[in-house]
Symmetry: C2
Subunit: 309 residues, 2 copies
């Protein structure tokens, strides 16, 4: 909204005369609670994201907070725009699952004094609170289980190196192979975007290798679903032709025959914890800022990973 310079000065004078702190621009309103929380996620159709949001709702709905959800559509540009949009809409706090770990308009955020809590992914150099999972050990436990079932040729569909969770899951994979004295085969490590269609090319690359892996580990929800699709399309049976272990959980995974082995993240709990930290910060409690909370994952082991001894 444009205010003519002359008018602006007159308004400010009038307000100063009244010794009145009310400032009609957004900035001034921020000191008042709006009882609304912004949630910014990469994609609204992602099962993991919606589970996190359900956790946030469980904590904030009973306190009569309105939760507004925006999607960045996996774009840094949109993330910056939506973040500034949420701030202008005068939310009391924001929970963000960042597009990647390289960039978040953090400087601006500190200035705005609106508390921000990250979920799932850390951002390099940021001093923000965060609730994430223990991805290294989540991934490690999956690879360890696969090794214990007799596999030595284990492929991984890893995510982009600029996403902290992807990097950590790859670390877990490498660490487990090392601990069990299995040589790393660079051909078995393929990368995929973590977007909706992620995993198709990477998985296809793995299964068309001359000496293809006997087991493959997919490291997030879309890469897991799309790899399952790939196998069906090629007439390969999960757990027989190739063993598969995925990441993240949906009710439907356990209805397959065999059910799917997966690393399960406490997605609801991530949302709940993030909401609780945000509430504290919004109440002015800055104890132990920034607080990085790491939640444990658990592993579902099924016949989708074949015992090959």
């Amino acid at each position: 909204m444009k205010i003519k310079e002359k008018n602006r000065i007159k308004i400010e004078q009038a307000i100063a005369e009244l010794d009145f702190k009310f400032n009609p621009m957004a900035r001034g309103l921020r000191t008042n609670k709006t009882y609304s929380i912004g949630v910014l996620i990469p994609r609204i159709s992602d099962v993991f994201c919606t589970q996190v949001i359900e956790g946030i709702e469980e904590v904030l709905d009973p306190l009569n907070y309105s939760i507004v959800v925006c999607s960045s559509s996996d774009s840094l540009k949109q993330q910056a725009e939506k973040l500034s949009y949420l701030k202008n809409k005068l939310v009391d706090g924001i929970i963000v699952m960042p597009v990647n770990s390289l960039e978040l308009d953090v400087k601006n955020d500190t200035e705005s004094e609106i508390p921000i809590v990250l979920v799932d992914r850390l951002v390099n150099g940021s001093e923000l609170d965060a609730v994430v999972c223990d991805n290294v050990n989540g991934s490690y436990s999956a690879i360890e289980m696969i090794i214990k079932k007799g596999h030595r040729k284990i492929g991984i569909v890893s995510g982009p190196e600029d996403i902290s969770t992807a990097k950590e899951r790859l670390t877990g994979y490498l660490r487990a192979l090392n601990d069990y004295n299995i040589e790393i085969n660079p051909e078995y490590i393929v990368y995929s975007p973590y977007t909706k269609d992620g995993g198709i090319d990477a998985f296809t690359q793995l299964i068309t290798l001359k000496d293809r892996p006997t087991a493959i580990f997919t490291t997030n929800y879309p890469t897991t679903v799309n790899s399952m699709k790939c196998m069906m399309e090629k007439g390969l049976k999960i757990g027989e032709d190739i063993s598969l272990c995925g990441y993240d959980q949906t009710d439907l995974f356990q209805l397959f025959d065999p059910a799917l082995s997966v690393v399960v993240q406490p997605s609801k709990e991530i949302g709940q914890q993030a909401a609780k930290i945000l509430l504290k910060r919004m109440n002015g409690n800055t104890e132990m800022l920034p607080l990085i909370q790491r939640l444990k994952t658990h592993l579902i082991t099924t016949d989708s990973v074949k015992t090959i001894f």
Copy 2:
């Protein structure tokens, strides 16, 4: 925000003197475009809802609209609160999937002059634009397919009678049985909430009948998934022990063996059309208001419905 009465009068005088139209209260700002759209849905974790939102995003993202999503958690009280919240947040327009067909704070909506478009469910007596599916014929085609495969004992897990889509899908069921001269067995018609855990009790009731149906039609996404779960838990094989036809689509349904027969709604298109109508209304075009757009569904037929001739 509280402004002392004395100060309020002084401020208003100061502003009046300046012949300045800027009004710091929300109402006055409404005449300015905010380039934001509110979307109010019953539940954020519902696959159908998120697909509709993706359609909305496809139309509005390229036009640089911010989309804020709120969930009513299947509660009329929350629906009213969130609706008023969205209006106060100065969105230019709102797309609503109503909790049920009985109630929406319509009077208020007309006053606020913010265009509202309904999706999926109609509201009795409302004069709002709406994009819905042809539920009667969607359901009819499923029952017709089941009949043509030889079934005569066909159960339905219907939704609450106060949701228009549920009512229409039941109508399709009754009409198809009538057209094929199959007597209606009231025991085969059971009702379930359309909430997240919907369908479990209703489906269990059907399969524990002395003379149980050979085929069952579940009429939305949660009732379909939960009925699948029921069958697995009871060791019943879909398409062999009992035939199943569901509603709504997720990629995973087609990965089961057998794949699941489902009525597929053009969920993305519902969102796209709703966004297009909303854009028209926000631009002041009131042609043919209220416009009710009905989109066709299509049927996926698989061996989850057994041929029993």
